[in-house]
């Protein structure tokens, strides 16, 4: 067991966890932040994507104990009173069907919009499709997911 401290969604959190605890487990089982989904558990599907120190990562492929002092943002931390523009865009564009992949899609979407804006690059629909390589939707909802991210990019 190791004692860990990190900042999750702007709040200091701590816990004693077995060393092999994955960040996804720590978020879901210890902090009860069940918005982070575990789809494949083999780092393929991206349902578990969160931001660590501002970068999108797969929380099922990261050890919680390695994140002492890290800033973690999950889907629960995006909305600030009102829904985040990416969440609104998924709602407006019907960017989900069953919704299982949605937390990861939204976290990846926010990451790509921020990154492209910071680099001064145009986030085209082709770029969005390539950027979504690590997020899998099995409802075949990609068209509306791409539309949602394009819509949010114009508003963020």
């Amino acid at each position: 067991m190791t004692s860990i401290n990190m900042n999750v969604n702007g709040k200091a959190v701590s816990g004693d966890v077995p060393d092999e605890t994955l960040l996804s487990e720590f978020l879901r089982e210890h902090l009860r932040l069940t918005g982070t989904h575990i789809g494949c558990d083999t780092s393929q599907c991206g349902a578990c994507v969160v931001h660590i120190d501002g970068k999108a990562v797969k929380s099922c492929s990261t050890l919680a104990v390695s994140l002492e002092g890290a800033e973690v943002t999950t889907i629960e931390g995006l909305a600030n009173g009102d829904l985040h523009p990416m969440q609104v865009a998924f709602n407006d564009n019907h960017g989900l069907q069953c919704g299982f992949c949605t937390p990861g899609m939204i976290m990846s979407g926010v990451d790509m919009v921020k990154r492209y804006k910071a680099e001064g690059k145009d986030l085209t629909s082709d770029a969005i499709r390539a950027e979504l390589e690590g997020n899998i939707c099995r409802c075949t909802g990609y068209h509306n997911i791409v539309k949602s991210i394009e819509d949010a990019a114009a508003k963020m």
């Binding site: 060393d19 780092s43 492929s61 050890l63 997020n135």
Partner: protein, 264 residues
Amino acid sequence: MYPTKYHKPASIADAVAALNGGDEAMLLSGGQTLLATMKQHLAAPSDLVDIRGIAGLSGISANGNELTIGATTTHAEVAGNVDVRRLCPALADLASGIGDTAVRNMGTIGGSIANNDPAADYPAGLLALNATIVTNTREISADDFFEGLFATALDEGEIITAVRVPAPSKAAYAKFAQPASLFALVGVFVADSGSGVRVAVTGAGEDGVFRHAGLEAALTGSMGDASIDAVDISDGNLISDIHGASDYRAHLISVMAKRAVLSL
């Protein structure tokens, strides 16, 4: 996952001590292969020694025409680095095609080459670019480093600290990605150092990454896709699996070599 004990040493000496102190200790860097392997119960290290807390192991510097890339530098950092883009854009392109965005934010160059997956991208790049792998005890040429399937020249307790890459006069990497895993079904890295051409192939060899003597001789003689047509690419010692037979991979080596040459 089976239980393991996590260490985050602040120095190479402490990391070596932790490695030697466990029954079956393993180094952890980005963990994008190792943690997945542990979840599948294909690895069960008694101890994980995370080297990301050691100062000086991360980051990229350029000295004249040579890049030095720290072992814990992520694929995303290599892909976006201005010095890599300036001195060896083919290596930045290679890094930008590994896995997906989230994997590139965690996975590291040191972890990739220490694992030496037969379908990984970096081994082809470093072998073709005649890179030097720097460890805590010595320097190893890429020719000597990649020994076979998941096998390297690293000794017990030896830790990669950096990779040194001489800038080529021109280079390119072409990968035919296996669409589900994004690993190379076949990847060919062509590097012209100015004094000769080196061609490394990943994804295809039964013994992992390898240099192709026939392609190197043909392209050193005349750099162009027509030179490749004259090269006999044998399917001996090439992988046959559900994704492709060895003769298909042999054909892809030719096609990917041409694509690389045409993009130089």
